[in-house]
């Protein structure tokens, strides 16, 4: 399943990357691959902007504007002028969460 094309804000600095493979390990959508000693974005549209890669890259080579992809939260954020926060309690792919 794919969401909107070219919407994801994922960026990767090949210059900073040390090829540790951490971003490949944490990404739940297999967005990255290693080419030689560098990570590359293989499938941008599969990215759901969860932020796991950026958080776990030891050299800060990955950047992504992460946040909740939840319509009601974003609408609420727009109305209150704040960042959208998810108030869905334990919601979200329940069995996907261990």
């Amino acid at each position: 399943m794919r969401y909107l094309a070219n919407a994801a804000t994922l960026g990767l600095s090949a210059e900073k990357c040390v090829g540790c493979g951490m971003c490949l390990e944490v990404c739940p959508h297999d967005v990255f691959t290693l080419e030689g000693k560098k990570a590359v974005i293989r499938d941008l549209d599969a990215c759901m902007e969860c932020g796991a890669c950026a958080k776990n890259c030891p050299v800060g080579a990955v950047s992504v504007r992460s946040g909740v992809g939840c319509a009601s939260a974003i609408i609420k954020g727009m109305l209150t002028g704040g960042e959208p926060t998810c108030d869905c309690g334990g919601k979200g792919g329940a069995d996907n969460c261990c």
């Binding site: 399943m1 794919r2 969401y3 909107l4 094309a5 919407a7 994801a8 804000t9 951490m22 390990e25 944490v26 990404c27 739940p28 959508h29 297999d30 599969a46 990215c47 759901m48 902007e49 969860c50 932020g51 796991a52 958080k55 776990n56 030891p58 504007r65 992460s66 946040g67 909740v68 992809g69 939840c70 319509a71 009601s72 939260a73 974003i74 609408i75 727009m78 959208p84 926060t85 998810c86 869905c88 309690g89 334990g90 919601k91 979200g92 792919g93 329940a94 069995d95 996907n96 969460c97 261990c98």
Partner: protein, 385 residues
């Protein structure tokens, strides 16, 4: 550790639970086991550690069911801290979990026959995925738990297994720097954990990727339908008022006879947006959820228009028909868009992009269909034409 404190978290009566409020706690020194899912204690260099049962009993199953259909899950927690599965020792792996009991149950069910330590983080009763996004399943919380559970005394190695979906909240290199423990991200699904542990902490690509199967989507639909049905009485009231309204006051017979088909039609977008669209998601054309929901809404409306007992001339009224076609597919689209909050593949930028066009369209269609309804009423009262 001479006594083990199990804190039972209850939200403060007025407002969300906060980390600082005094939590009533129960001391269980000795053999008293207040939790039915505990099965004795394990002795360790760091003191006695409660052992968890790896079989779910009827109470656990019932709680699991309730989690699917209600907001009961808001207060469904496990006291954070260290637990044992089986008979772990200094060489056993440490597995981290959220303190949402549903997640915790899914984990302990998989630990049958496995000797491991389980470190439960305080995620305020929220699952790993949401907690990582919200910041309660975090680097700081993990570091604190590793320290307070005295993991360094407990095990000889320096490895800790985290659910992969916790990665958005935890910075593995910072945990390593602070505690010496190397974070290994385990599989996405708890059901793959035995294989992952058996393979010496090696995950296959399949374990690493999030799926969204028919069953995954099906179990999420109750939480889409129920919130929408809570809004239904309001809609019903509006419809009855609109159809019963006469220059002389509200006529209940008219309200029901004229409004009845529309009360039924009001259920159609809920069915199509909150049930059919999530279920058939991959098969509906276009990537946008708003468009998918509109398509399903229009198709469902078309079918239901033919089977609804009209009992009045409304069916042939052009103004009402136009209002129907404008409003109901749009409502379905709006409801379907809510499902973006439950899928594991929709990102924030994409949803924002959808909303930018969708919201003005929604507002316009609500206003125009309301205006059409007013025109219909005016024509009925012969104020027009």
């Amino acid at each position: 550790m001479s006594e083990i404190k199990l804190a039972f978290k209850k939200p403060a009566p007025d407002g969300p639970p906060s980390a600082c409020c005094a939590q009533p706690s129960v001391d269980i020194s000795g053999p008293r086991l207040p939790q039915p899912w505990l099965a004795g204690f394990v002795n360790s260099p760091a003191g006695p550690v409660p052992r968890i049962s790896t079989v779910l009993d009827r109470g656990d199953q019932w709680g699991r069911f309730k989690c699917r259909v209600s907001s009961y899950r808001d207060d469904y927690t496990v006291p954070p801290g260290l637990y044992a599965a089986g008979d772990p020792d200094g060489g056993s792996e440490v597995v981290a979990s959220a303190n949402y009991k549903f997640s915790f149950d899914m984990l302990r069910r998989q630990l049958k026959g496995i000797n491991a330590w389980v470190l439960v983080l305080d995620t305020k009763g929220i699952n790993v995925w949401c907690a990582a996004g919200k910041g309660s399943f975090s680097t700081g919380e993990l570091i604190n738990r590793i320290t307070s559970a005295n993991l360094k005394e407990l095990v000889g190695h320096r490895r800790i297994v985290l659910p992969q979906l916790g990665a958005p909240g935890v910075s593995a290199h910072e945990v390593k720097r602070a505690t010496g423990f190397r974070v290994h991200y385990g599989p996405v699904r708890a059901s793959d954990l035995p294989d992952y542990l058996g393979a010496g902490l090696a995950a296959t690509k399949k374990m690493r990727t999030v799926g969204f199967t028919f069953m995954d989507r099906l179990v999420l639909t109750p939480m889409e339908i129920i919130p929408m049905m809570k809004k239904y009485p309001l809609y019903a009231l509006f419809i009855l008022a609109a159809f019963g309204l006469e220059p002389s006051g509200i006529l209940f017979r008219d309200a029901f006879r004229g409004g009845f088909p529309f009360l039924l039609l009001g259920l159609v977008p809920v069915l199509s947006g909150a049930f059919l669209t999530p279920l058939l998601l991959p098969y509906i054309p276009f990537r946008s959820f708003a468009v998918k929901g509109w398509i399903m809404g229009a198709a469902s409306l078309y079918l239901s228009m033919r089977f609804i007992p009209w009992r009045s001339a409304a069916r042939t009224n052009g103004l009402l028909l136009a209002a129907c076609w404008l409003f109901f597919p749009m409502a379905s689209s709006y409801i379907a868009l809510q499902f973006t909050g439950s899928t594991p593949f929709t990102g924030m930028s994409g949803v924002k992009k959808e909303l930018k066009t969708a919201i003005p369209v929604y507002l316009a269609s609500v206003l125009i269909s309301a205006a059409l309804l007013v025109l219909y009423k005016l024509a009925l009262w012969r104020f027009l034409i």
